[in-house]
């Protein structure tokens, strides 16, 4: 099969499956880069007064770890799966604008390489934390050109996401096969629709903030260096993007969990209509909670209480989503496969990450949590736990669809056990480090933080390798040359069955290739390198 591999075809492809694979491979590459940064940080923090990394290197690594993980790993990994699966779930031949899709991907790859490349420049890259707070991000306090390039890399990424979101929204709204009504639209596709709708509103404020920052840094304007509200202006623009971004990262995860639960509990999603309404409510409310990141900036009392209330309000539909997922298991026929285990773990982490988030919604409680390791623990439970676990579940779940191979189930369960235990040993101690400030590169022994930090580092050295082995399992299975059947999970969703009309009785042993060809009806122009839409990777 390697004989058919053509680099030129991969470089020029506009096929949604190939672009999806490119997204996934690139996101995994950045996951390994950003994960290694995380391991370096944990090594530095393992013991007090450690000199392994100097403060400037540590600061750059903190900044890159955060930016890469949130924007260049979790967001595109979801987008990669969406690229592959969404057109199959709705019976579209491809995305609405295949070339725009390829453009999105290459912009994403280039922006990521640009960002990582900044650390090799003389003077280094951005040293501000992923939030890039003003005026630390201005030329006066970060004179290195790497910081300007990092801002441009982020702006490019925002362009890439905006193109993707337009593409996905158009595809899902206009290119559904006959018979895919809004009621029959699969949950994963719904979650991607919500994600992309949110991205369309969340990224422009970031892009505009970055353009202002770039003019500050290059042309000498004073948007963010001004003492007349420059810092607050940046925080408002950043968090108006930053909070929805959390949901942009988590929504595909919830969609994947729903699909996996339905397949392995052999049961329809609990109250699907209410689930979708709750999804929409979270999407809408998430645009109105950003100020809870700014409780300690001295905002006036009424604003404080309003945003505290919206934050509490968003937790109600979100809790509904989690309960809907758990109740899907009720009276099902549950099979504990590896994707199922990852999804159950994701429910655990989202619950813990969620309730700690609710505690932070109270301004008075947030006065202690703000800027401390408690916050670090909270968002790692939501992102490194829920999202990463669910995305791994998604990779495992759709792996037979994408490659016609099955991964090794026993190996997958062992690596799951190690990654789940390692994860909790790594992040749970953070909830006891309420007085330890974020992003400090070292601490003294008298603070009493040493033992918890050491535990956390031990966890990191279990979690990191376990995630690598998880990915290795997939790669090894791909190298093996035995194809599995086309629907090994006996899943009922349309990307597996190809039964888009929903009218005819379920065909037995359906030939996916033909079923998908029947329902094309796409307006996209066929291209030379068109490959058959049959689930083959190469």
């Amino acid at each position: 099969m390697y004989g058919e591999f053509s680099i030129k075809e991969w470089l020029t492809t506009t096929n949604h499956k190939r672009v999806g694979i490119l997204y996934i491979v690139t996101a995994v590459f950045f996951l390994i880069v950003a994960g290694s940064f995380g391991m370096l940080m944990r090594t530095q923090l393992a013991t007090p007064n450690e000199n392994f990394l100097n403060p400037f290197t540590y600061g750059q690594i903190v900044t890159l770890h955060g930016l890469l993980m949130i924007l260049w790993v979790l967001t595109p990994l979801g987008a990669g799966l969406a690229n592959y699966i969404v057109p199959l779930q709705i019976g579209a031949k491809d995305l609405a604008f295949p070339r725009l899709n390829a453009t999105s991907y290459w912009t994403y790859l280039f922006s990521g390489l640009l960002l990582v490349g900044t650390v090799f420049l003389p003077g280094g890259g951005a040293n501000t934390g992923w939030t890039l707070y003003a005026p630390l991000n201005t030329i006066q306090f970060s004179p290195q050109s790497g910081a300007t390039l990092a801002a441009l890399a982020l702006a490019l990424f925002a362009v890439s996401v905006t193109m993707s979101s337009i593409n996905f929204i158009t595809t899902i709204v206009k290119h559904r096969a006959k018979g895919i009504t809004w009621t029959r639209l699969p949950v994963f596709t719904w979650s991607i629709l919500m994600t992309m709708a949110l991205a369309l509103f969340a990224f422009p404020p970031l892009a505009s903030g970055l353009l202002l920052l770039t003019t500050d840094r290059i042309l000498g304007t004073v948007f963010f260096s001004s003492t007349q509200g420059g810092s607050i202006l940046w925080e408002e623009l950043f968090w108006f993007f930053g909070h929805p971004e959390v949901y942009i990262v988590v929504f595909p995860a919830l969609g994947i969990i729903a699909e996996v639960f339905m397949t392995f509990a052999k049961k329809q999603l609990f109250a699907k209509k209410i689930f979708i309404i709750e999804f929409a409510a979270v999407t809408f409310l998430s645009l109105g909670v950003w100020m809870h990141h700014m409780f300690t900036t001295g905002v006036d009392y009424n604003t404080l209480q309003v945003f505290s209330f919206t934050t509490l309000a968003i937790s109600v539909p979100f809790e509904g989503l989690v309960l809907g997922l758990v109740l899907t298991l009720y009276k099902g026929h549950i099979k504990l496969t590896a994707p199922m285990l990852y999804c159950l773990a994701a429910i655990f982490t989202v619950t813990l990450g969620g309730v700690t988030g609710v505690l932070q919604a109270f301004p008075v409680l947030d006065y202690a949590f703000n800027g401390s390791y408690w916050i670090v623990g909270h968002f790692h439970y939501v992102m490194a736990g829920t999202t990463l676990f669910a995305l791994i579940a998604g990779l495992y779940y759709w792996w037979p669809k994408m490659t016609k191979r099955k991964y090794n189930e026993t190996f997958a369960k062992i690596t799951f056990a190690f990654s789940f235990i390692g994860f909790n040993v790594l992040y749970f101690p953070y909830f006891f480090l309420v007085d330890m400030p974020r992003r400090i590169s070292t601490y003294t022994a008298s603070t009493g933080w040493a033992s918890l930090n050491f535990d956390s580092t031990v966890g990191a050295f279990v979690f990191g390798p376990a995630i690598l082995l998880t990915l290795l399992n997939l790669i090894l299975s791909y190298r093996k040359n035995d194809a599995c059947e086309s629907n090994p999970w006996e899943a009922k969703e349309m990307e597996w069955t190809g039964n888009y009309s929903g009218l005819t009785p379920e065909p037995q042993n359906v030939d996916i290739t033909n079923a998908e060809r029947i329902v094309t009806g796409s307006q996209s122009v066929p291209e030379k390198s068109e490959i058959p839409n049959n689930g083959d990777l190469i």
Partner: protein, 223 residues
């Protein structure tokens, strides 16, 4: 000798304990349900049929509404508790009854200015049993002014004064109390070293110190 817990920290601990207990119970219920379902409804031989629906959809909608109602009641009660507590830190007693200390954060230290012109760097002395108002600003980048022992924190923002109030505890037999002030906002390569000590002194000792400082400062300025 153990230091007394400041009053604001006692309020905070009470609210935290209440909210955290509810959070732990909620998590435990969800997790218990999940684990129970996984064990009870595991797949057995012959379970091949896909289950479309359980029970009429009306009752499922009702269940969802009940869940929503329970969580709204919980959240409202917590919100009320939060509303009642927030003013303690944000609306300290009037300036006439308080000691006002201006805090200037810079890379990478805190400077404290007292009303009579005395200033210190890295150490802040305050009298016991007194309301203290910190008027916090920065002269370069954003910093955080955090007194975790008192459970209060406010950002130091260039061009802006943010107010945070604490009430110092009584000495309880100690000669002085010592708390740590830390920067909680990333402010560059010296972030990890940016801290200061807050010493709570007996009011007489505090006044003696403050007046002596004026003399020393004046001498220093004169010399």
């Amino acid at each position: 000798m153990s230091q007394p817990i400041p009053p604001s920290a006692i309020d905070w601990n009470n609210l935290f304990n209440l909210a955290a207990s509810i959070a732990i119970i909620a998590t435990a219920i969800v997790m218990a349900a999940m684990v129970y379902f996984v064990i009870k409804y595991r797949q057995k031989k012959g379970h091949t049929k896909f289950i479309q629906k359980i029970g009429p959809s009306k009752s499922r909608a009702r269940d969802a509404l009940i869940f929503a109602a329970i969580s709204i009641i919980l959240l409202l009660s917590l919100t009320i508790a939060s509303y009642r507590l927030t003013p303690n830190a944000r609306f300290p007693p009037p300036v006439s009854e308080s000691l006002v200390v201006k805090v200037t954060a810079y890379q990478w230290a805190f400077r404290f200015d007292y009303p009579n012109g005395v200033n210190t760097t890295g150490i802040c002395y305050v009298p016991a049993n007194k309301s203290i108002i910190f008027n916090v600003t920065s002269i370069d980048v954003m910093h955080g002014f955090g007194l975790t022992d008192f459970r209060v924190k406010i950002e130091a923002i260039p061009g802006r004064y943010n107010v945070i109030g604490i009430t110092t505890p009584s000495l309880d037999g100690n000669s002085e109390l010592n708390y740590t002030i830390r920067c909680y906002e990333y402010c560059g390569v010296g972030h990890m070293d940016m801290a200061a000590s807050l010493f709570v002194l007996d009011p007489t000792a505090f006044n003696t110190w403050l007046n002596n400082q004026t003399t020393i400062n004046a001498t220093a300025a004169g010399g």
